[in-house]
Subunit: 239 residues, 2 copies
Amino acid sequence: MRGNLFAVAVNLIVLTVRSHRLHVLLIERGEQPFLGEWALPGGFVQPDEDLVHTGTRLLREETGDPTGDAVVGHLEQLGSYADPSRDPRGRVLSVAYLALVPDLPEPTPGSDAAASAWRPVDEVGPLAFDHEQLLADGVERARSKIEYTTLAASFCPPEFTVTELRRVYEAVWRSELDPRNFQRKVTSTDGFLVPTPTLVTGGRGRPPRLFRRGPATVLHPPMLRESHRVNRNGDAPEQ
Amino acid sequence: MRGNLFAVAVNLIVLTVRSHRLHVLLIERGEQPFLGEWALPGGFVQPDEDLVHTGTRLLREETGDPTGDAVVGHLEQLGSYADPSRDPRGRVLSVAYLALVPDLPEPTPGSDAAASAWRPVDEVGPLAFDHEQLLADGVERARSKIEYTTLAASFCPPEFTVTELRRVYEAVWRSELDPRNFQRKVTSTDGFLVPTPTLVTGGRGRPPRLFRRGPATVLHPPMLRESHRVNRNGDAPEQ
DNA sequence: TCAAAAGTGTTTCACATACACCCATGT
DNA sequence: ACATGGGTGTATGTGAAACACTTTTGA
């Protein structure tokens, strides 16, 4: 068997929405290399562990939720990164996993972390390794996937209002959506939202209804970030 | 550094369209394990090689195009597979790359292959390792990406007709598209197709115009596989 | 002259946008 | 009463679907 050997790590891009802004879970490294610097949480794949198993194990560790019951969110593989110079210790391939979770309590640092915290994705400074690239790719994946899937609900608690769901879209896309058209769009898409009998009182205006996630996973037609009329095709229009 | 070590391979899902059907490039293994069985082409990542470099190197080797000039197609990372039992030799992580290429001449087998051939994707039998899974994931990625990108043109030669492009969509999606609406759609999307002065004579009807790829990479709005009216949301509609 | 394939015009319908308007609550 | 946010109704525009029709070639 030719080829040299790699250590294989899994890194998590754990995204959530807190106070109307998209946040990512970061740790302060407690070991070399990059000791004291901020990084994405992660760890090595153990013997007899599959990648997705490593991902869920790390997600439970870093969110401080050993049973996994509280994290009802979404976990998917994002991609692998193996630039020969990405880790000073040697050849390390990192498989990035993207996690979308509801707003959780403050995280408890994992074993190799000095501290951990939620940080707004547009205020993240330099990160260890190539983790800025991983984070950028993860945010981009999240932004595009909520267009044509129902994954935005993964950022919400089990029961939520239409406005809470709209705040998720607005936070991830950093854009404003018309509340009235959004309401009609999500409530008229079969299988997206299941109404509950509960109305939330205590707020200022008319009490909103609570919804649960429905069985639908894709959105046809997709949710649109903005008008179709802008030319997103990049360069000079032809003819 | 905890965690055990992996061999890291890159496997290619090379797709093309031949005689109106989607084909994949397969090799007959010339080494153990799985000697004599069909598999996806691949090879190990060499020292100081990045993943995408391994992918392009292998693509040139397997297509018999050492300069890479003929393969003007598309190469992107699909995902990584690392089930502990996927390779009897031990712990091997495979990074799958998806390649979309124009119809090429018959391939020349790479170093570790006894033979290689283009096979229709819906007539592929059992494959070595977990390569059936890789192939299914690659075909699914190709099917969805040509909806909202201009990547279908990667299956075409540098100059092609609108009908040739439509045959690509029909082969990948195994569906029929209205030639007249397709024509208007692709020619009116800014930056997708650039007309050339050339008309192709020799066919039976009115000579079609040749086009080249334009600078556009995304399709807004997307190409639709079939009518919007069918409910693709899966399960029982709510409320 | 006819068949065949390329390409255009037109009607209809789905749905996004924009926004007027009503509903139900806290203060 | 009134402000505030939830939710519905409706006019307008864009683009997909369906298909009649014209154009341009080979046989």
